[in-house]
């Protein structure tokens, strides 16, 4: 068993600082009314002298542009749960503690190439999500949690070293009742090493059984059962922007973080998603939704960010945006795919990505392939399909390279059509008479005609109604 503990000493502040730029001074307060005091401040605010413990009014005096937010403990719990979802990408055994996460990673070491690499990835991921964390590794759960609160970066890999590492730690870090801690201090113990040196049975009789079990669990001598976290089946996150965003830049920062969380959640579930919905809530509580459909299930946060950017650039922000909401429609469990030795499959995947990009910016109808239908009428002889669709129908007739959307009426001069100048009929007539079944019955004589300046046109003459010349195609 090897436990990694991630404790978040600045969780209250990180909720807000992860979605605001670093240069903006930010402070979080706790308490109410007269007793409200600054709990935590970001480095930009600290440089002005804003420290934990001062009153908000003093803080404003030190830094006029300071943004002060009251602590939101409900939000903090939700954040911890979503961090647990993200951490499930590294191991399936994740447990929540107070302002901390505990990961049991003995089974993941080989996949992540060793403890160092795993710790580095955890730290990098948390930095990208915007949380400050303190990491510790220990063979027992309680010890890992305790060491993560003491200092960042303590690593103990075997039980034998554990006692040695724990000994110099001060008594106040122990998670015991205040009365018990006072009792231990009264006995003359200043560090954990002193407590461990005392005879255990006598200590248990004097301080109570819970001290005995606590120290046993700390040293890994007694089993320490925990309940493991289970990820929610759906992903639904709301991110409150601390400062209202009137431009796209204000939203992008937060959006990126949200998408990273989704990516982490999906990798924890070994799943991918086929569609996303992004909601922008405005000041007057209305929400406008952006829908993003993907051609293939995917898990790539950067790609979604790019696609959403294209959609966001098209809309106009009529009001300031106060909150972002992200939810996913369906989660698809990823199935293992065989990689092909040659590049054909990879090209298909690249093509799908390119089509997604084109459709995101230009619209779903903008990129298409062609297919031939069996109809003889030229305007019905083709239809749009998804690019790459095979079609077997062949029409072996001379046709122009281009068709006009609406046939253009031409004048008649001595039996020949006129398009600028008189056209010379070269080949024809080809009689196309069809369409009695859908009301667009037509009987036309098609000719290939040459313009004196060289171009070839495809013209027809109506056999029935008006017996006029029309231009329908151009041989380009």
């Amino acid at each position: 068993m090897l436990w990694i503990a991630l404790s978040f000493p600045h969780l209250a502040l990180d909720q807000f600082s992860r979605v605001t730029p670093e240069s903006l001074p930010l402070a979080v307060t706790s308490g109410e009314g007269r007793g409200e005091r600054v709990l935590d401040a970001n480095p930009a605010a600290a440089s002005y002298g804003v420290e934990p413990g001062i009153k908000p009014s003093s803080a404003y005096g030190l830094c006029p542009e300071l943004l002060i937010k009251p602590r939101d403990q409900v939000q903090e719990q939700r954040a911890l749960a979503s961090l647990a979802d993200w951490a499930m990408g590294f191991t399936s055994a994740v447990s929540l503690a107070e302002q901390a996460l505990l990961l049991e990673v003995a089974g993941s070491l080989r996949l992540f190439n060793g403890l160092d690499a795993l710790c580095r990835q955890l730290e990098k991921g948390l930095a990208e999500l915007g949380y400050q964390a303190s990491l510790a590794v220990a063979p027992s759960r309680s010890a890992a949690e305790l060491l993560s609160r003491v200092k960042d970066g303590i690593r103990v890999e075997s039980l034998a070293e554990l006692k040695k590492v724990l000994s110099p730690v001060a008594l106040r870090h122990l998670q015991l009742d205040a009365k018990v801690l006072e009792g231990l201090a009264a006995l003359g113990a200043r560090k954990i090493g002193d407590c461990l040196a005392l005879p255990r049975a006598a200590l248990a009789r004097r301080m109570g059984h819970q001290v005995h079990t606590y120290f046993d669990r700390l040293l890994g001598e007694r089993p320490d059962p925990v309940t493991f976290h289970r990820a929610a089946p759906h992903f639904h996150r709301c991110l409150l922007l601390p400062a209202e965003a009137e431009t796209l830049d204000g939203i992008n920062f937060a959006l990126r973080r949200l998408l990273l969380e989704l990516q982490g959640y999906l990798s924890g579930q070994a799943a991918s998603v086929t569609g996303l919905q992004l909601g922008l809530r405005y000041r007057d509580q209305r929400t406008s939704w952006l829908d993003l459909q993907l051609l293939r299930p995917g898990r790539d946060g950067e790609h979604w960010f790019w696609l959403l950017q294209q959609q966001l650039e098209q809309i106009e922000l009529v009001q300031a945006v106060t909150e972002l909401e992200l939810k996913t429609a369906q989660i698809v469990k990823a199935s293992a795919q065989n990689l092909s030795l040659f590049g054909a499959q990879r090209d298909g995947a690249d093509r799908a990505l390119l089509l997604e990009r084109l459709q995101a910016r230009l619209g779903v109808e903008a990129a298409y392939g062609l297919a031939i239908s069996g109809d003889h009428r030229p305007e019905q002889s083709w239809y749009r399909v998804a690019p790459g669709t095979q079609s077997d129908i062949v029409q072996n007739r001379p046709r122009p390279g281009w068709l006009l959307e609406n046939p253009e009426r031409l004048l008649d001069r001595g039996g020949s059509p006129v398009y600028g100048e008189s056209l010379e009929l070269l080949q024809g007539p080809e009689r196309i008479e069809s369409g009695w079944w859908d009301g667009q019955d037509s009987a036309r004589d098609y000719y290939i005609a040459r313009h004196p300046q060289g171009a070839l046109y495809w013209v027809y003459r109506n056999c029935r109604d008006d017996r006029c010349w029309y231009l329908q195609g151009v041989f380009g």
Partner: protein, 218 residues
């Protein structure tokens, strides 16, 4: 300072001096045969396999598509993908298929704005999955040409843009002017990278029109 006098003949022997009267021989991998022998000879091989080509046509429909169809068809039969961006009219699927282009590997992109057309062309050229791209942008500045040329080089793709008149200096690999009359289609090389010729080739109309009149390669 004294400099040695060098004879002109000695200078001309040096390999690092480019001489305009020596034609550049392109090898087969770098060109696509246009399907017309005189054109292949004038272009030392054919259309450029990688890079942007500009065709200046005074009026759409004088035969520019028929000029390119043999090459497009050979690319398509070899299994490559083609894309047409913002075509001036509706492409006739029957004619395109009869000319030898496989419809299951043809992508048509319709855009509204000129900026979107250039953007789509750039994305497709750069992607590396397409072998040939034809585009009809409304406006084409020198800067846009340069971007498309770089995108074509990055993606290893042959791109062609059709425009009415030249816009500034040519940033493309090849710039051709097409003129037509009832008997001939003349192709004038305004700029060809690596060569100095400004030849004009006259192709008989019958030869050009046969790309669409009868299926190519059958």
């Amino acid at each position: 300072m004294e400099r040695g006098v060098v004879k002109l003949e000695q200078l001309l022997q040096r390999p690092d001096i480019w001489q305009a009267n020596r034609p550049i021989q392109q090898d087969d991998r770098q060109c696509i045969s246009s399907g017309y022998t005189e054109l292949d000879q004038a272009l030392s091989g054919g259309w450029p396999r990688v890079g942007l080509m500009e065709l200046l046509v005074p009026q759409q429909g004088i035969g520019e598509l028929s000029l390119l169809l043999p090459a497009l068809s050979s690319l398509s039969q070899a299994g490559h993908w083609l894309a047409w961006v913002q075509p001036p009219w509706v492409p006739c699927a029957v004619a395109v298929q009869n000319a030898g282009v496989d419809l299951s590997r043809l992508l048509i992109v319709k855009t509204e704005k000129a900026a979107d057309c250039l953007w789509a062309m750039e994305q497709i050229l750069r992607s590396g999955i397409f072998a040939g791209v034809l585009g009809w942008p409304q406006v084409l500045s020198t800067k846009a040409q340069r971007r498309l040329q770089l995108a074509a080089e990055a993606g290893g793709c042959w791109g062609t843009v059709f425009s009415r008149r030249p816009a500034g200096a040519a940033m493309s690999v090849l710039r051709l002017q097409l003129l037509a009359n009832a008997q001939h289609l003349s192709v004038k090389i305004l700029k060809a990278r690596g060569s100095w010729s400004s030849k004009s080739i006259s192709l008989s109309r019958h030869v050009v029109d046969s790309a669409l009149f009868s299926p190519f390669g059958s």
